[in-house]
Amino acid sequence: MKIIVGILRVGALGCSAGLCACIVRPPTIAHVHIGHAVTAVHVTPGHEGYLSVAEQRANEAYTAAKSANGDADLRQLKAHIAAVVDATDSQENFGVRQSVTMAANHISFAATSADASANVIRFAPTFATDTAAIVERCNYIDLLGKDVASSASLKEASLLTGEILKLTRANIEGSDASGNDAGGSAPSKDGVVQLRVEVQAMLARETPPYRTVDQWYLFNLVRLPNGRWVFDKLGRGGTIDGYK
């Protein structure tokens, strides 16, 4: 009995030290890339997956836009819109545009992995195309944000803010068929919510089934100089941005 308890203790300690990864069958490289898009990646704030970061930042942008929409003071309105722009399009702080683009990139990495399923290979270009509407809105928000920043008129800035508010909402919920309004009767696949649904549907079709990838694999995938993806069991570091 003592021997069994001892083995379990050693196992538990080993697992907590990441050794489970060596014992359990490792995930496919394609699934690890997908895991970076949906579960976790070590470069983002809170190590969230890129799609989760995009959702968070899209919500932050919408909240800031709602605040700006009620502002009667031009300076305060500009501050709120600056927050919208930062949440939407910021290289340093993983704006919606950057996060969505990275999610698409990592799903493309998955599709080009040697162990990618036909399902993933088919999905990657569709997903990348579907992110274009969000990227376009982010670009538009960025341009309107610059107009607000340079505006000397509260009336003009408020009109611009109304448009920004619609765009930030559409970045979450998508837009209707005419592309004018968020949450319409026939939403297109172009909000972060729709992107998440698309990814989940793709994962549900995976054979063998997709399982949430263990954090050790997510944080230890590296690319060798010859282009091959491997797990960094020896802590050597990798060669590509976004990886160790």
């Binding site: 698409a104 493309s108 990657a124 010859n226 282009g227």
Partner: protein
Amino acid sequence: MATNRLFALLLIGLCRAAWPHEAASPAVCQAAAGQPAITEAKAALDASPADLRARLKLADAWGDAGCFGDALQVLQDGQALHPGDKELQARLRVAKSLVSEQGYFDSMDRAAKNATLSRATFRCAKLADVSSCDDALNMKPNDPELLIAKADSLVQLKRLGEAIGTYRNALPASADREAINAKIALAESQRHAFLDTCETKAGDAALRACQAAWLPGAPDELTVFKRRGMLLQADNQLSPALDAYMAAARLDPSDHSVALAIVSLSDSTGRQDALTLAARGHALMALGRPTEALDPLRQALRLAPDLVDAKAELRLATLSPRASRADRPAADGNVGSAGDKAAAPPAIIAAANGGAAAPRRYSNDAPVTRTN
């Protein structure tokens, strides 16, 4: 097995590094089909279609030219001949990835352009920003909705004449002609009120009214320019006044009051640019002083040899009997005579103009707001 997989991965890395990642356009790829590398590789493959090396060489040649779609096609055509070949599979994966990357970057470019268009459209429609309307129309020429939005903006800015012209441009492609005609009728009635102010009042209000009433091609366009010239001259804005008179002269080159104003203002402003010199030459011809017209017309053509009207005018001035005498070394002393009334006879005018009657001209090419 493991070695094969490693080889395939290595190949992917090498191929991705080897092929340029700048994708070529379909037109460029069509032209690239004639490149020696591609024609030679194609000939080799046609000679032995089952030769995998030859197929890969042709795919490489397309890839080197940035034509990833063509490279993919060549590789896909080889699948039936080489089923399960690891190298071919790896190369196919790379080619597919590059084709999809190409599509992705195209969509990103489109996203950037569409955002710029959306911003320009919004500013045009909601903020009456006419320069944004022009930006949007540059991206979507003759779009009826944009034209109407621009015209609405011009109405808001009280530039009614321009607005009417823009509404008219929207008419042919518009689905709702009735609505546009109603807008035109409303703008016309407002324009007439401004025209009245332009013609009867003085000062800034009248100047603004002239600007608002200016409608390119309208029968009253000449009146608007003349009136604008007078008002600006009265306000001692001599250079803009000269511009207005020059625009009027383009509409009616024979108007004596306009010609006199141009001669006077080109003197007092001292402007020596090609257009002003040509206008001064035209004006002097209109006043029947061809001898005096020679010098400004020649100067204008030295500065801008392509001024077609000035060339014709110079020919006319040179053919004029008085000017011919004055131009000879033993001139009779009539050079620069203000009383030079001997205008060229009709036959000479016809010869200089090539016999064609001058059509009615409009000032669209020379807005009153433009300065030299």
